[in-house]
Symmetry: C2
């Protein structure tokens, strides 16, 4: 979206989105269900990380309900990959749109039979810019940066890395062939966002998946305490 | 940009952009200068391809003027990398904006002392969605897809691959570690856009750079014939 449009139209667009995000947030608070918004470039490994994470969480907390909302401009491949794991999933196709918005997520949640005290993953559209400007009612905003993208990306796409709760440095098994330096990337993230948790991992070979899933488990436990015993 | 905004505002926005794109196109037609719009995800290798291409074109056509307009949300690193090769470059920082528009390019061209019968490269913002919707007055729209992004991306980001003149499958030196299949990617592109030229290359090791630069040289030669002898 060009800067001029943001100035002219940003407020009402954002206001409308905030209203829908509030609806999603209220619903999930009553349920005590954690919502995680996964964002990053096309092909940065969001779906692979998601599938590996679901599998780990299943092992660590077999009773915790898991749900996925999948966003893609076109195709249902990612939803099929997630669905093959037996996790309830709703695919949103934006027909070319560059990010999810809270209205889409609210609509998707109506298609999921949400049980209390679960964890919901929202895989956003592959885009390191636009998704960052739209609150989906999530608890955690997670930005992925994959080794092949390069160390310089946090500074170039600063808005995304400034406004997130965690950064996942993904595809760490490709550091050798790509020359990616996770230490430099971590420092770049720290300069922009000292409070963000930073994880280095490879969802493909499993390296580093432990700290990431433990962090999610901690956050899910904290969120469970918000569940309204009378409302769910 | 969400679909609803496109419906409500798309026309006037696009109309304004088309006016600026027409100005850029007229200017470049008079000069007989080819304009190439490079688009692709963050970290797909646009800058590396650009630097390797400039170097090759310098060798093949030492007399041809070369120019670069660099787009980034923040930082001037890419312009510095290009400038180090001695090619005139203007950096556009969109301050977080998700694509270049023709007004920005028109403005950038005023900062370049354009000689006739050259080639201008415009490196768009790293984003596989939004840049595809904005005509910059270019002759050639080139979409990059890098090996680590995966074979499935042409179908997922179909709008970009349908509306381009060429697709560059980049980072082919990473096919081994990533499992990328250039044959499958090429077929996926062909299904969406049978007319697009498709190149497989590695700008890092030089493999496949020949056909790509020859194609650019052919197009630049054709464009030179449009130069207005009285106007330049």
């Amino acid at each position: 979206m060009p800067a001029t449009v943001k100035v002219v139209l940003g407020k009402s667009l954002r206001e409308a989105n905030e209203t829908w995000a509030g609806r999603v947030r209220d619903k999930l608070r009553t349920l005590g269900t954690l919502a995680v918004n996964l964002m990053g470039s096309p092909g940065c490994g969001k779906t692979t990380l998601l599938c590996a994470t679901l599998q780990r969480l299943r092992g660590l907390a077999p009773a915790m309900p898991l749900y996925v909302v999948e966003g893609d401009p076109y195709t249902t491949r990612d939803a099929e990959a997630v669905g093959a794991q037996g996790v309830p999933v709703v695919q949103i196709n934006t027909r070319g749109g560059c990010h999810l918005d809270a209205r889409m997520v609210d609509e998707a949640l109506r298609h999921l039979d949400l049980k209390p005290r679960g964890t919901l993953f929202i895989e956003n559209i592959g885009n390191l810019i636009c998704p960052g400007g739209f609150d989906l009612g999530e608890d955690l905003r997670v930005a992925l940066l994959s080794a092949p993208e390069g160390n310089d990306k946090p500074e170039k796409y600063a808005a995304m890395f400034r406004r997130c709760d965690a950064v996942v440095l993904s595809k760490m098994d490709l550091c050798g062939p790509t020359g990616f330096d996770p230490g430099l990337a971590r420092e770049a993230v720290r300069r922009l966002n000292p409070a963000a948790a930073v994880f280095s991992l490879s969802a493909r070979d499993g390296t580093g998946m432990g700290p990431w899933t433990e962090w999610l488990m901690d956050r899910a436990a904290a969120k469970r305490s918000t569940a309204d015993p009378g409302g769910v």
